[in-house]
Subunit: 755 residues, 2 copies
């Protein structure tokens, strides 16, 4: 039985009913008097010189107010994608915004966008990594590469950016790169009895949030301040970007975060600054809500990758050497996905390691974070190779993994030690799971069972929170993190447990960047991990204040007081108790004697809590068509401590579902000129609930995180990581076909079967 | 020279430009999709039985959605005026809301209200105090008097409600009453050499805020929660009222306070609950924005009073006895203005005291707080009598006052000791003022110079505040008090002084009742006095956090650090400094090492800080018409400590200006049936800037309040108190006419001259 009263209680998402019945005010529901609607004019070319822009016909249309171009934008270096604003003289990806039509209605803006005439001189473009690296290839950045730290750190992915051997990876269209080495890689392979070597490719994948990017910018009447209603995961970071571009102090910008209708890493910041600049240019409120087509053309999906992995092992399964070479197609801006190479070199222990990473510029849309950015790609490659190694060695694939799995304190790829983590325990739980134990039964039915594991370092970012007791006995907990995944439900449990009330007496409240306590971006599997401790501290502080007031009221010692079931009492003497609401009344009334109960919590912590998730897939492969059916999928994840099993399970299901998208369905395609072929959800397949959802099972393993709230660790990213690898390994188990390309579409599976 | 860097700096009202150019979003600017507009159907009778309400014709009009009556309201006891909702079977004042028409547009609502047919059976009504107290008078509350504590405590006016001798004052239409006694009043008058005895009357006066009462209620989609955009001085108190009426927990109601366009005590809460009930009844957003006519008919002005004062003194000026009898015409609900009698018995020390108070029900609109509620009335009476006493004794009127003025520690009317206060110092400053010193010059010109003093106990109510440091070095101070008078400008000075930055690096921010730190109602001259200390504590806390972080960064001792000009440095070593913004960046970034700087301040304090304001008026009286011209008006006030001289002066000017309204212009009139004769600002005269503003001079006296921020005390209420008395005394000095009725209109002055 749990020692906890609230922690671990299954608690539905607090705003679930609001969401499914349309009560939530999303950014697109924000209507400001005088607001103009924006619509992009986008480039049809992947690379071209803009020779002229003629907006006359557009401006002649009723309702069209203004057509903005680069001439209306500040001419500052485009050091990151969100500073590209509108194309200045040259376009570098098909879909790049060239002009922004502002009109009184969305329809007028659309009509206007169709009447802006842009003349281009098409230029040779590099669309693939091979083209980009070819000698004499056209340069994406002939005048100098953009460089700035990106938002990868938000995911705990800010590793490997700096390396003493960076110079090993460079070239004209190379955005960045590094090599991580340990031992003598050639000697390591020389020691190996078996070597497996494969090349893998993954596709560009879109985060496919339901709500398109939407922002509303409202300029201050004077000064240069700006209010932005933004569908963002990172209001404080978006504020930093907008203020910098506007050239005003950061607090002159107020970001009012609206609930994102999905984000998955894609909504840190992108068009907030452009919308703010547009609003300033016309001195009116401006909204920009992308169409699905614009989403597919001009946002920031996950990058495609090409990966070469070579693994050597002794006959007994001991890994001797691991070599990885990951090239990420980063489009026109770096995406900072180096964590891929870092993870590849960190999951398993091997004396000899070489993990090489580079991001290659192409004339395509640039990527950003998507749930565990870089990890699904690297894990697909590595875990496929490990699986094949087990096959070749004739070993149980989990036994092989357990033999080589990293343990806390073991070196990471960068030489630093692994923090506390549960890779081994997760693998052991997978090993004992019936689906794995009884995989022969599936095999007998012509199906295959595959296993893979993936991990994520987790991120850190400071937070603060306040907890205020109100006269109805409700504790309001004010936090600054945007909700993506239902974490507020868990926060009510954390606060209830700490303060001593039932969870329904806790309310999680928000403000905007002007008044809410700071919290880092919602991303990197760190909201529960980082906001939770601030909530605990705020509630402990509030609790102590309550005990002190009650002690004075009851002429007792605060140390002898306790809060039980919404009442504060002398320990063990329930009939000498004061209702929390009545106590609050003594702090919130004319002439009241006591200061209001407001607890303050502040937290920072540099040690992330890595999370591992193993997945077991049972699949069936149609040998005639190559079609893959996933019948069962078990995800086993170290969550540190279960706070709210409902949202935990939901988050894991969502991650696995998206992992199935990576595995089987999703891939943004481009033709040889760089024109997107997948311009909508008609062409681009996201998994449908009706067809694609297997029999799910989510299993929790609890290896407490030393700094996590009640031991909890981030859980958002791990469940997406291993899915594609698990499915690929299950396909191999079912068919002996080894598919090395994502998504594993029927033709590709068929091709693998025929090899 | 001041020891302070920021405190005392003249600082314009922060949102002055927004206000005068229409940028502020007042409650009437709030537009919610689907919102209905309300318009009252009001009673033409002061007392009547409602026999029928026919809404058919109204409902047939286009746009009229619903006509609500008492049948749609909860049938709960009307224990306070804000629970009267819509008349249930009987009306008890002319102007009482009988029905509420809800329509798609304000015009449709107005049309609808004109088509609701209400049938009444008029009943005999009591319109004056005399009628109400006459034997056999019709009862305002035949079924039992409403009783509940009101909001008078908000003004520090919650004195005298309970008294062992309450039974002395009672009767069928008596709402409440008490007597405060000291010594033997008959013996006291027997000891007197001179006795002055007068009867005074004052009129019902409206707060005359520019913005009519306006609220918008938005029901939650489910549950019974409600969001109310409210033009209120007291969001947390309004929340308590609304939730209680709705029967939901207090935190199920969210009050979003909009900036009141004037309030002056009249906007604690009145129609918030009714609008919320209406919104619930139709399950749509509802707004009610009163017309000026409805404002004059159906809000809560200051009450009229009838006062009898008898003062005895020795030949040397020593007061021997003071007897006061104040009867307040409280309309249909008690207004809790007992502080009038308490002040009357507290300003001066006399061994024998009897101060009698009663509120009398009449069939008129009920009063509520208006800036120093009860004080202008009582002070007009007492200070007129004291002035006449000086005349009769042939003494300098300030000398007489100084001889008898209460000092800290002296007994109040209720026997408790006066806290620290500066009545004597204020009188001394008045005495030495040139206008007073040279009053013979005015006299020589046929003018008169009059002096009066008034004081206010001041209120207390707990507060909290948070101070958060942002990456641009700006400190955001989050408070929960509505701004009425520009106090945020002073708060920037308090925060800047405490934290160690310039005031322009401080921003005062707000939220709503869900997320803002509690602060009591804005009323009672207590916002700077009570919120200020929380801001100081929050900024001290934040400062300590900054010093600790900087010390760790610079490897120094936090005790050796200081914040100077927006940088934190080792004490006295400016070249070893860290910019506050850079420091904040170390607390607000991916992987940052330190917790965010968020200081928490909480404050409660039971000892109020009384404030006194003396006023010297120079007037000219037209002996043919009775017209009074106020040429000069000097107000001398103990403010404790000047925080922001600009807002201080503005607040004093506003108070004096309203005092001139009481003195010369304002009075709501009723005919013998209780029908209001002053239904708009055409009939009811508020002072006009062009005609009524004398040559003003505001003088600050600083007697520090022991618990005030930097010694400051509340300044909002004192400046309205003595104006009418000072003008009356100046009229007497100019003309020997003693006017005993407010307002002192030309006919009344003429009558006094002819007596």
């Amino acid at each position: 039985m749990s020692e906890y009263k609230a922690i671990g209680t299954p608690t539905p998402v607090l705003d679930g009913r609001d969401k499914i019945t349309g009560q939530v005010q999303y950014a697109t529901d924000i209507k400001i008097p005088g607001m103009l609607h924006g619509r992009f004019v986008t480039s049809p070319y992947a690379h071209a010189i803009i020779t002229s822009i003629n907006a006359e016909a557009a401006l002649a249309l009723p309702g069209v107010v203004r057509v903005l171009t680069a001439a209306d934008m500040p001419d500052i270096p485009p050091r990151a994608r969100n500073r590209l604003f509108l194309a200045r003289g040259r376009v570098i990806f098909a879909g790049q915004p060239v002009a922004l039509v502002l009109a009184e209605t969305p329809a007028a803006a659309q009509d206007g966008a169709e009447q802006v005439w842009v003349e281009y001189e098409p230029q040779p473009a590099v669309i693939t990594i091979a083209e980009a690296l070819a000698p004499g290839a056209p340069l994406v950045w002939p005048g100098g590469k953009p460089g700035a730290s990106g938002e990868a750190g938000a995911h705990g992915a800010d590793v490997g950016d700096e390396d003493e051997e960076e110079s090993e990876v460079s070239g004209p269209n190379v955005a960045n790169g590094f090599v991580m080495k340990r031992g003598d890689i050639a000697a390591g392979f020389a020691e190996a009895d078996v070597i497996v070597e494969r090349t893998f490719t993954t596709s560009m994948v879109h985060q496919s949030y339901l709500e398109p990017m939407t922002h509303v910018a409202v300029p201050d009447a004077w000064g240069n301040g700006m209010t932005v209603y933004a569908s963002t995961q990172a209001p404080f970071h978006a504020r930093e970007q907008v203020s910098d571009v506007l050239g005003v102090p950061e607090t002159a910008v107020r970001i009012i975060p609206t609930l994102p209708g999905g984000a998955f890493g894609g909504k840190f910041f992108l068009y907030e600054s452009l919308v703010a600049l547009a609003a300033r240019a016309v001195n009116r409120p401006v909204t920009l809500s992308l169409t699905r087509s614009e989403e597919m053309l001009a946002t920031n999906p996950a990058p495609a990758a090409e990966m070469h992995v070579k693994l050597g092992a002794k006959r007994d399964g001991t890994f001797t050497a691991l070599q990885g070479d990951i090239q990420v197609d980063t489009g026109c801006f770096p995406g900072y996905h180096g964590v891929a190479a870092w993870l590849l070199g960190s999951y398993y222990q091997t004396p000899h390691l070489e993990s090489r990473f580079a991001e290659i510029f192409t004339h395509k849309v640039s990527p950003a974070a998507y749930r565990a950015p870089g990890a699904p790609q690297a894990t697909f490659a590595l875990e496929s190779v490990v699986d094949e190694m087990a096959q070749q060695l004739g070993m149980d694939p989990i036994e092989l993994r357990l033999k080589n799995a990293s343990k806390p304190g073991d070196p990471l790829a960068d030489g630093k030690p692994w923090p506390v983590m549960g890779m081994t325990e997760v693998l052991q739980a997978a090993q004992s799971h019936p689906l794995y134990q009884n995989r022969a039964e599936a095999q007998a039915k012509g199906r295959g069972v595959g296993i893979a594991i993936g991990g994520w370092p987790g991120g850190t970012e400071p937070t603060a929170a306040q907890a205020q007791l109100h006269r109805d006995g409700t504790l309001h907990v004010h936090i600054g993190s945007v909700d993506l995944t239902g974490t507020p439900a868990g926060f009510t449990l954390i606060a209830a447990e700490t303060f001593g009330v039932s969870p329904d007496k806790v309310r999680i409240v928000y403000g905007d960047t002007s008044n809410m306590p700071f919290a880092g971006a919602t991303g990197g599997s760190k909201i529960t991990y980082m906001v939770g401790p601030s909530i605990i501290k705020a509630c402990e502080d509030a609790r102590q204040q309550v005990l002190t007031i009650a002690a004075e009221e009851m002429e007792a010692d605060a140390a002898d007081m306790e809060i039980v079931d919404g009442r504060v009492q002398v320990r063990g003497v329930p009939d000498k108790a004061l209702d929390l609401g009545a106590l609050a009344k003594k702090t919130m009334d004319f002439g009241a004697k006591y200061a209001p109960v407001v607890g303050n919590g502040r937290h920072a912590n540099n040690e992330a809590a890595p999370g591992f998730c193993a997945q077991i897939a049972e699949v069936e492969v149609d040998r005639d068509t190559g079609e893959v059916t996933v019948h069962r999928l078990v995800a086993i994840q170290d969550v540190g401590q279960v706070i709210n099993p409902l949202t935990l399970e939901g988050q894991m299901q969502g991650g696995v579902m998206q992992g199935l998208g990576w595995a089987l369905y999703e891939g943004m395609a481009f033709d040889e000129y760089g024109s997107p072929l997948t311009g909508s959800w008609v062409d681009y397949t996201v998994p449908h609930f009706i067809h694609a959802v297997p029999d799910f099972e989510m299993v929790f393993v609890e290896i407490p995180a030393p700094h996590g709230p009640f031991g909890a660790k981030g859980v958002g990213e791990p469940p997406i990581i291993a899915t594609a690898a698990a499915v690929a390994n299950a396909i191999a188990a079912a068919s002996n076909g080894r598919v090395t390309q994502l998504p594993m579409t029927a033709p590709r599976v068929l091709a693998a079967l025929r090899n």
